[in-house]
Symmetry: C2
Subunit: 218 residues, 2 copies
Amino acid sequence: MDSQKSSAGASETAKTTKTPSRGRGVQRVSALLDAASAVFAEAGYEAATTTEIARRAGASIGSLYQFFPTKEHLAAALHARHLDGLAAVFDGLAAEAQGAASEQGAAGDGIIDALFQRLLVYLEANPAFLVLGERRSLDPAVKKQARARLRGGIAGLLQTIEPPVPRERLAPLAALILHLIRMAAMLRADDDLAIRDPAVVELREMLRRHLAATQVKA
Amino acid sequence: MDSQKSSAGASETAKTTKTPSRGRGVQRVSALLDAASAVFAEAGYEAATTTEIARRAGASIGSLYQFFPTKEHLAAALHARHLDGLAAVFDGLAAEAQGAASEQGAAGDGIIDALFQRLLVYLEANPAFLVLGERRSLDPAVKKQARARLRGGIAGLLQTIEPPVPRERLAPLAALILHLIRMAAMLRADDDLAIRDPAVVELREMLRRHLAATQVKA
DNA sequence: CGTTAATATGAGGCAATCCTCACATTTGTG
DNA sequence: CACAAATGTGAGGATTGCCTCATATTAACG
């Protein structure tokens, strides 16, 4: 995980829209993305309207379309921005793991617990990410790449735990964990209050056990 | 679980639409639901068009709106139909568990494995169910009730395993298992071919371990 | 201060889609 | 067969929402 900012600049199917070059433009774009994040999260991709997004950003629709040629492009840019945010979480975690390892070798699955915790926080604070990651119109290639990036991050963390997880299980385990985190986030987001907390506890306990058993065997 | 057919008849916000009273009408409705199932699965709820659904059912739009006052009502009816289908799966499984129990007490988590298997098959054969169960416009009360029904079914099966799962864990465990099954279905539906099978195996293994451990402790 | 590129604006074109309605056809029933 | 109730039909009304465009405003820079 090296969080190479995935350039949200000019690319893709052209349509000639400008990347902001002045400070005001940059701010506009940022405000638009913030508004989009809120509206997408509340309404879902399809029901979200560009007019509403512009309104919340304090901009006119024309202004919106000056920077994003398409509702879809706007969504893509926001998705990329969130991916970068997640990459930062991974980087931070990797750094901490490095530090902890030189002090104490016992941490073990603690890093996965921490990952779980932080990603949940991030997803709860940015519910639009899940919406955009599951939207029907998402380009499969982009989806695949996004998944690869996240799974790579998880696999990287898995490699730091002791005793090591066998190589051939890294990929499926990373995929599984990513899905579990998404599931936990959805659970917290829309499930019954009385059930969601115990269920998440159960979920984490289940994963912890599985990881422990996986390390022993193999 | 007693699979009381959730009457898809006249109710809700009126709008005066008729339930078919002649054979031809019944067939039409059935054909429309089949077509809807296919179209919803392919396009998602919002992008699915009533015109396309009618076309595939070999009916005119007018005919569709004769039986379903609204696209939303059509979706609701289909959702209910699928719920009934799932209830049937639960009933069958419960019956088998009963039979197996009197022969051999060893089955244990076998019933959960079977549940997993069958629900996966059902969901793979009826992908519209997940689409409809997650659509934004789904009435929260209906969603809640649907979940309760499914979780109740799972909890019922959990109670038959030996040694017994402690009472207070039944509900969260059922919720967790339901989510896991949904996750497995999504995984199989849209994940990378190389990763999905090992990941599902890993998932089931994880759940099996967790169940075993849960029984021992508590 | 004048020029020019960047940014801002919002009325409206255009296309898509849900649903209605007036009328046609079928089929059960006396 | 005659009548009525159920079912069938598809053009178009009404709405919605993405996006364009002609024009206005702002601000960097010499």
